[in-house]
Amino acid sequence: MGVVDREFEKLEAAFQAKVEAEQRIEPKDWMPEKYRQTLIRQMSQHAHSEVVGMLPEGNWLTRAPSLKRKAILMAKIQDEGGHGLYLYSATETLGISRDQMFDQLHSGKAKYSSIFNYPTLNWADIGAIGWLVDGAAITNQIALCRCSYGPYARAMIRICKEESFHQRQGYEIMMTMAQGTEEQRDMAQDALNRWWWPTLMMFGPNDSNSAHSAQSMQWKIKRQSNDELRQKFVDATVPQAEFLNLRIPDDQLKWNEDRGHYDFGEIDWEEFRNVVKGNGLCNRERLQARVDAHEGGRWVREAALAHARKQEARKAAAAA
């Protein structure tokens, strides 16, 4: 074993000790390359998801059914853009630029949450996204507030606050729809039918099949397993659906007194893989929308840069 290897082992041990002592890792601290890479993958995916997630909701912004709902939705989408910005910045602390992350997204190398490959087909979908999708996201994110990487943990704390606000707004839309006309009720049920299973898939594969999980748990990037978080979400959400008098589309769903949890049916992982692979209704539209925005905006960014350079040159000339 050479000097470099020994040095590396020492650094790694110190890193792991710090993680286990629940101290936060900060950008300038030494960290294993795989830890950095894992965080870049996960954080940039998270950032991309915020930005791509603007699209399915943006789809109803021009058609929101009241001015108040339009304002709430617009503010929500704006928050998501803000989260995206915030997460891109946090990820940049790991030594990757926003442009590099965009390139990875646009080339398909980086992913975004597959939930956004489903279309929003009626107004209740906006409620369902807030209630279910944001609800699932929060369940994940609360765990991430204690993530070992400082900038990520702090971003999560800030984001969680706004997300729980969004979740309440989404639930309120569902409530209004569920208590509305028969047609509105049908929309609410239809939305729940379409979003329920994809939402459960957001927590990732079952623990028995989760490749990255063990290492992420050891590094305390992840604090709870996929299945634990999924169970937590189901337990919290089922009573909410009952309160709305809506039916969760799962015949096997029932309270298990022994476990103190709801049992629920098998997830159709084949569908999950199918959508990830590109067979969701909106995979192409979503990515294309981002690529078009980026490519279509190139001349604007170039102009802004060119103008800034001219300004500086003028300032320099004036000072000389």
């Binding site: 058609r63 108040k68 617009m74 704006q78 910005l85 509105q184 905006g297 190139r298 604007v300």
Partner: protein, 252 residues
Amino acid sequence: MTDKDMLFDYLLRLGDNSLILGQRLAEWCGHAPMLEEDLALTNIGLDLLGQARMFLSYAGEVEGNGRDEDRLAYFRDTKDWRNLLLLEQPNGDFAMTMARQFFFDSFQYLQFEALSNSTDERLAGIAAKSLKETTYHRRHSTDWIIRLGDGTDESHERMQRAIEALWGYLPEMFDMDAVDEAMVVDGIGADVAALRPEWDEYVNGVLTEATLTRPEDSWSVRGSREGKHSEHLGYILAEMQFLPRAYPDAKW
């Protein structure tokens, strides 16, 4: 037209301007040239939507027929809309959107300044609040006019094309009809014709800094004060009003 009718119409103009421009900005959502602009455009859109809600609610109260902001926003067809033709024009590219915004912001800034001295206290209050927002909007769009005008060759060309394409929609902003005159006489409304010199001065200054050429006054169109719109408004309304029209009994 009674005084009440005139005030109602006047408030509709103000509300519809903010609402239709806000709706156009909403179309950008998720498609802006950079994430920061997605935030800025939704931010401005939100301000405009808020202004629209205040003006339309007030209009509904003045009318006294039980129409609230949503009834006014979702159940009027083209000929009953009073927004300026400029504001219903398509987004086009980012230069077009910013040119439209700049021309309107710099007008609206002066109008709200005047209206914040209105003898109608409620109107004055809305105007004062909106003036603060519009101060930021105007700064934002002014910055982009300068950046794009004095940026690259491409951005300069696009911006010049944009201001030319919109130029003929601008005189309408300064038109005064009987309603405007009556509102001025009552100390309620703004004398928009009188705002033109100051607007010209501001706009000329920005165009010069942006190295852009002020277009000739070669054409102009008008009609919005009588509900004569371009063909674009119908499509905006069909999309915007779909849900309340399709489910008239629903509450949302």
